[in-house]
């Protein structure tokens, strides 16, 4: 390649990010399989960003497939539905798919094998409905962002409609290595995805939709082009395969040339980003009346016999999925999500949630663990950072305990993609530094808010005590005045009755004391 071509190539390539070996095939090419209904499902109440849902079923209750089992609480929340028909056998804690390995609340469901669906009404022509009605249907179906962020989709769409967003960006980037569930959705259900995109466009009043698909998924691009051909407003845009292309800010920049400013949201630049799997879920919810109770999960990794994509009911334990796909050797590490941003699971008895794109069972060769060395300030992390930050400076400050200093270097803009740690020749655990600092800062913020609240309460209490003391002394003064008046009257009649009055006063004082 001549140097001019190379120069032009570097111009067209994004300047940020890394290019890990994608390892998507052969799993991506294997046909979609259906997981047989497991013996037990554990459906968590918190599968989304925001307030957890509140259970509306009782232990021992029989539920139907798609029946509401937990209702949303608060403004940002999502309902949870039964993945199949069966009996609720427990409501309690189960290990969360979270690096802490702590437990969270879930509803245990024992499938009855009938898979009987609950009744649901489907609108004849959703495009005749007002946008708010579509958003309501999406909210009722419990749809959350399936790209991994699990932000409630209805909230996002409503925000898009309020801020007059003109462009809907559909994220088919799927830049994480190993994962191919979005690829599979686009190949197998392109018409459904396109229909979901049109429904979302209707819900937010967007004029156009750009579907960004990484160039390493040619089959998906062909299928989506074919499905989107009748709709001029939907454009399929292949984007360079580069991690993290699937991050919303990076995709927006690549497709529209707009950069989302720090501490702004995508809607502030007139764009809303949704995942292709979310579009598919929207299609199923609005056209078929099926809430989000199952999803395609990639099962991949060196320890798996039959890597591929599997349709899995929400609440399935990872161990059931591993048994279905077959395990070659005891996996060295279990990861939920992709290898770059995924969560290391403490064990396999963890439920699959709405946001689970993949389960990776990695063998020893796939885990490159190396001892961290010293930072030599080579600056590779700075070049790789898609957010334009200085990971080496932030990490040095966090290591020295200077969290405000790290924040001044833009810690809050870190998307945690892991490019810096991937590229670091010293193998420094940069992302862990940043995650630690973000958590620590939010804990401090919580403490601060709590202290402010305590201060307010204490001030209110002081005010109340003062008021009560004033009232008490005013009452005492009044009584004294009355007594003096009475005494004067008594004196006029020359027969004093002082002791009884004093006694009465004591009683009143005791009453006031108790009521405070």
């Amino acid at each position: 390649m001549g140097f001019i071509e190379r120069f032009l190539h570097t111009l067209s390539e994004p300047r940020w990010g890394v290019h890990p070996d994608d390892r998507k095939r052969p799993a991506a090419d294997a046909p979609l399989r259906l997981l047989p209904m497991p013996k037990r499902l554990y459906i968590p109440l918190q599968q989304h960003v925001g307030q957890p849902a509140r259970s509306v079923v009782l232990v021992g209750q029989r539920v139907l497939k798609g029946q509401l089992i937990a209702e949303p609480q608060g403004r940002i929340s999502a309902p949870v539905h039964a993945s199949t028909s069966g009996t609720v056998f427990m409501i309690g804690d189960i290990t969360a798919p979270h690096p802490s390995g702590l437990a969270f609340a879930a509803i245990g469901l024992e499938p009855d094998g009938i898979d009987a669906s609950a009744e649901s009404a489907v609108p004849a022509d959703p495009f005749a409905l007002p946008p708010a009605e579509i958003t309501r249907l999406i909210a009722a179906a419990g749809i959350v962002g399936l790209g991994g962020a699990t932000f409630p989709s209805a909230v996002k769409l409503a925000l898009g409609q309020r801020s007059g967003v003109a462009t809907l960006i559909v994220n088919g980037g799927e830049c994480e290595p190993y994962l191919s569930c979005d690829d599979r959705v686009m190949r197998d259900a392109a018409p459904a995805v396109v229909d979901g995109v049109r429904l979302m466009m209707h819900a937010i009043g967007a004029r156009e939709a750009l579907v960004g698909i990484e160039a390493n998924k040619p089959e998906a691009i062909v299928a989506m082009r074919k499905a989107a051909a009748p709709f001029a407003a939907i454009r399929i845009c292949p984007v360079p395969a580069r991690y993290p292309m699937g991050s919303d800010r990076q995709l927006i920049q690549t497709l529209t040339g707009k950069e989302v400013p720090s501490d702004c949201r995508a809607a502030d630049v007139g764009v809303i980003v949704n995942n292709v799997s979310t579009a598919n879920a929207v299609h199923r919810a609005v056209r078929l009346g099926e809430p989000l109770i199952r999803r395609i999960v990639t099962i991949n990794g060196g320890a798996i016999w039959q890597p591929g994509n599997v349709m899995v009911p929400v609440g399935t334990l990872v161990s059931d999925l591993l048994a279905f796909a077959g395990v070659k050797s005891e996996p060295e590490r279990l990861v939920m999500g992709g290898p770059m941003m995924g969560t290391v699971l403490p064990h396999a008895s963890v439920p699959i949630v709405k946001g689970t794109a993949g389960i990776l069972a990695l063998n020893a060769e796939e885990i490159a663990e190396s001892e961290p060395g010293a930072c030599i300030r080579c600056g590779n992390c700075t070049r790789a950072c898609p957010a334009g930050l200085l990971p080496l400076e932030m990490a040095a400050r966090i290591r020295a305990g200077d969290l405000p200093g790290a924040e001044a270097f833009g810690l809050s803009d870190c998307i945690g993609c892991g490019c810096c740690a991937y590229i670091c020749p010293a193998h420094l655990p940069l992302v862990q530094y940043f995650n630690h600092a973000k958590g620590e800062l939010s804990t401090q913020e919580r403490t601060r808010l709590r202290n402010d609240a305590a201060k307010r309460l204490a001030a209110e209490r002081a005010g109340r005590l003062e008021r009560e003391a004033l009232e008490k002394s005013a009452a005492a003064a009044r009584r004294k005045a009355e007594r003096n008046a009475a005494k004067a009257a008594e004196a006029a009649r020359a027969s004093p009755a002082v002791p009884t009055t004093q006694h009465a006063e004591k009683n009143t004082a005791a009453l006031v004391e108790t009521s405070s």
């Binding site: 010293a374 040095a396 400050r397 290591r399 020295a400 200077d402």
Partner: protein, 193 residues
């Protein structure tokens, strides 16, 4: 005019009061952990240096020399310096309480900062005129502030790097100071001819 400019540059850089003359080292090491504290210290010391030196010059030439009391020079100068530092402390407590708190013990210690007494004495030795003396002191004060600022910046970075245990704390700071001194040696090559 250019003569004063040359004097300013040569006092601030070539004959830097801290890095070359080794005067005023105690705040240089003591208050240089953070940039804001170092700037505050530099400015406070500069204020004291310029005010004390000009007062000293006036007293020397209008009081001590005419009355033949040159043997009282040291006592007079120290008296003036102490008064000016006292004044600065009172003013700073009112105007910049945060800075007052930050400088702590080092603020009254300006009184015993050797550059503050050294500069008026050098002025007398060299027989500077009033304007030359002021420029000389101002340049030196500028050099002091510069050295404080640069050193504080370096030490802020030093807090982030891994220092071998044997060197952590004051030893590495002194090593850093010696390297800065080396860097300032470079200015001695400046030629104004």
């Amino acid at each position: 005019m250019s003569e004063y400019l040359v004097l300013l540059v040569s006092t601030a850089l070539v004959n830097n009061v801290v890095m070359v003359r080794f005067l005023g080292l105690c705040p240089f090491m003591g208050v240089s952990k953070r940039i804001d504290g170092a700037i505050g210290m530099g400015l406070a010391t500069s204020f004291v240096i310029v005010l004390a030196a000009s007062l000293s010059w006036i007293l020397e030439h209008w009081l001590l020399v005419p009355l033949g009391l040159s043997y009282l020079r040291l006592l007079t100068f120290i008296l003036v310096i102490a008064a000016v530092v006292q004044f600065t402390e009172a003013a700073m407590r009112k105007i910049a309480p945060d800075l007052y708190q930050m400088l702590g013990i080092y603020l009254p210690l300006i009184a015993t900062n050797c550059s503050v007494l050294g500069l008026p004495l050098i002025n007398m030795q060299e027989g500077h005129g009033f304007v030359t003396a002021i420029v000389y002191d101002f340049g030196s004060a500028l050099g002091f502030t510069l050295a404080m600022l640069v050193f504080a910046g370096l030490r802020e970075r030093l807090a982030l790097v891994r220092v071998p245990h044997a060197f952590s704390g004051a030893p590495i700071a002194f090593i850093l100071a010696s390297q800065m001194s080396l860097a300032f040696m470079g200015f001695s090559g400046l030629n104004f001819k």
